[in-house]
């Protein structure tokens, strides 16, 4: 019977209910749009930041050895150390592993470049471009055992003429910084020789490699002065198999403390130090935080407007139905039943408004995503229960005063002929 009363009372007052639902739709759609944008864009903004480079640098822990005699200090020397390439997969096994977007090892050496016209000393950097790294012991059984990573993943913003090196076993291709290319007159497709002297003292044990230019890099940074090759080329050339100087890590850290992140990498590869590029991280955190604060405020204002709309409609409804309420009470309805009737109506308004609001909000989020962030917003299923919960909550809260009014209607009203 309760269901019949509720259904018929709602269908009798369709336009009134529609206004209340519309109020909820406004709040729910804005909440949906901003929640979706906030959840999706904080990640996307993170990715945008990642375009400007790695935010963590993993280097071998350095040992300094004091040199001198007792009482005579000659200073310190630092022993050159390396990270084992075979340990790099461990970066993807930390607790915050899903926030590791990519990493790229780097092994540097100074080589002599020679072509038909010129000869010059240049820094050669061996790295991964886009390589499938095997994760030997994943953190969880649900994690993938293959991770595609490299300098192309963490530095997609590099301006490359020609192409990236795609095959990790390609020993012939190289990508040349624009300054090197200009100095040596190199163009795409040109071949040149690099020489590396292993024994400097005797200028002996010289290794040579023939390389072809497949891409010219323009970053307006130090990369413009370097030549990039596959890591194994650099390792073979310099006789340092399995060694890298450093690994640049691109980490998405809008929800995690970046220092913890760095600490976990150090735990995973104990002989390394992970240094954070704090300026970038804090700027990123700051901007994301401000965006989220603004969205939160706008959502609150929208929900307040919704609540006001629902409250007005419910109050009008109570005033219009005073006699009906009085009659129900006069024939034995307890306050609890009157409250249940109105609160059920409010709950239904909240659910319908929340569902429709989600739909409208999703469209709105696409608009915001495209016009503000130039990206589409992925539908987030988690938002649906949140938005419906918020809509029902707002609708119920907005109904408290009208329901109190309904409960206070005197049953004697039906006999006064008012």
């Amino acid at each position: 019977m309760f269901g019949r009363i509720l259904r018929k009372s709602i269908s009798k007052r369709k336009s009134r209910i529609a206004i209340a639902v519309l109020s909820v739709i406004i709040g729910a759609s804005i909440a949906t749009a901003l929640l979706s944008v906030s959840m999706d864009v904080s990640e996307k903004v993170g990715y945008e930041f990642r375009k400007y480079g790695a935010n963590l640098m993993v280097v071998p822990e350095t040992d300094t050895i004091e040199v001198g005699f007792p009482g005579v200090d000659f200073g310190t020397v630092t022993e050159q150390r390396y990270i084992n390439e075979s340990d790099l997969w461990k970066i993807k096994t930390i607790y915050w592993r899903n926030n590791v977007l990519g990493f790229a090892p780097l092994l540097y050496s100074v080589v002599t470049v020679e072509n038909e016209q010129n000869q010059q000393e240049v820094v050669l950097a061996g790295t991964y471009f886009n390589k499938n790294v095997n994760i030997l012991e994943p953190y969880s059984s649900e994690d993938s055992t293959i991770f595609k990573t490299g300098i192309q993943v963490i530095s997609p913003w590099w301006n490359v003429t020609g192409r990236w090196i795609e095959d990790p076993h390609d020993n012939d291709s190289s990508m040349v910084g624009i300054n090197v290319a200009e100095a040596l007159g190199l163009e795409i497709g040109d071949e040149y020789i690099i020489r590396y002297i292993i024994d400097y003292e005797n200028n002996s044990n010289i290794k040579e490699y023939n390389l072809t230019v497949v891409g010219i890099i323009n970053t307006e940074g130090h990369e413009d002065n370097q030549i990039f090759v596959n890591l194994q080329v650099a390792q073979n050339l310099t006789g340092r198999p399995n060694k890298v100087h450093t690994a640049q890590v691109s980490a998405l850290c809008n929800a995690c403390p970046v220092d913890t992140f760095a600490g976990e990498i150090m735990d995973a590869i104990p002989y390394t130090e992970a240094r954070t590029v704090k300026q970038l991280v804090s700027a990123e955190m700051n901007i994301l935080g401000k965006i989220e604060d603004m969205m939160f405020l706008v959502t609150i204002v929208a929900l307040l407007a919704s609540a006001l709309g629902v409250m007005t409609t419910m109050t009008t409804s109570v005033i219009e139905r005073r006699k009906e309420i009085g009659l129900m009470k006069s024939i034995g309805a307890e306050n609890r039943k009157i409250m249940t009737l109105f609160l059920s109506e409010a709950t239904l308004i909240g659910i319908i408004g929340g569902l429709l609001g989600y739909g409208v909000g999703f469209i709105l989020s696409q608009f915001i995503g495209m016009s503000v962030f130039s990206t589409s917003i992925s539908p987030t299923v988690e938002v649906i229960p949140i938005v419906i919960g918020i809509s029902v909550g707002v609708s119920l809260l907005a109904s408290i005063l009208p329901v109190r009014k309904a409960v206070n209607v005197e049953p004697a009203i039906v006999l006064r002929g008012e």
Binding site: K12, G332, N335, A412, V414, L415
Partner: protein
């Protein structure tokens, strides 16, 4: 067994300093009795009906309905007591406009205890509306609406039926149908209290009470009616 189903002792109802609707009123009504309450507008008839119907409480005095003192009962206790003991028939019928005739009767069952559609249909058949069960009030005549109101008042088998100007909005023919129904209910043993301006209806009661300025100015027992 005949006993005093309504006992009103020294009841005062004061709305504000100037308005005293009932002034030290004493009245007793026996079980199965038909009592007519009459009086000019503002004499306190509706206030008295509200107090007997547990829709309102007196400022002072004692009200005992069906052996229980209702003065001092809390709001929800009064509601429970009312739905167990009182059936209300209104001049304006007060049917829920969006519910059908049978649903209006079932609603009273729902607020009382359990809904039984068969019983609700029986109650409507009894008042001659077996053919109008699924009609909403706007599709029923005034007399039919009043009969739905009576079926609703009867559905929970109340001890006392209170009728406020039950024929006040009806033409003579429909008014007679309603009065005939009330008469039948009385013969079945129901205690009936009718507020009316109409002297003919007033004369139908076994007891007639005339209220003036919140006081009983005249009371007679007419067991011939």
């Amino acid at each position: 067994m005949t006993y005093e189903i309504v006992k009103i002792q020294n009841v005062v109802k004061q709305y504000d300093k100037k308005t005293r609707a009932l002034d030290n009123l004493n009245l007793s009504i026996k079980k199965g009795e038909w009592t007519s309450i009459m009086g000019p507008s503002g004499s306190g008839k509706t206030t008295l009906l509200n107090i007997i119907g547990c829709l309102d409480s007196p400022t002072n005095g004692k009200v005992i309905i069906n052996g229980r003192e209702t003065t001092g009962l809390k709001h929800n206790e009064l509601t429970r007591f009312r739905r167990e003991n009182i059936g209300l028939i209104f001049q304006q019928y007060h049917l829920i406009p969006y519910l059908t005739a049978v649903e209006n009767v079932m609603m009273a069952q729902y607020f009382h205890s359990m809904v039984d559609e068969k019983d609700a249909i029986e109650a409507l058949k009894r008042v001659g509306l077996g053919h109008r069960l699924e009609h909403v009030p706007m599709h029923l005549s005034g007399g039919e609406q009043q009969r739905v109101c009576i079926a609703r008042a009867l559905i929970n088998d109340p001890k006392i039926l209170l009728a406020d100007e039950p024929t006040g909005n009806l033409d003579q023919k429909n008014g007679e149908i309603i009065l005939e129904l009330i008469r039948e209910l009385h013969h079945e043993g129901h205690t009936i209290i009718v507020v009316t301006h109409n002297p003919e209806i007033g004369d139908m009661g076994q007891k007639k009470v005339l209220l003036v300025d919140g006081k009983i100015s005249f009371k007679n027992n007419n067991y011939g009616g």
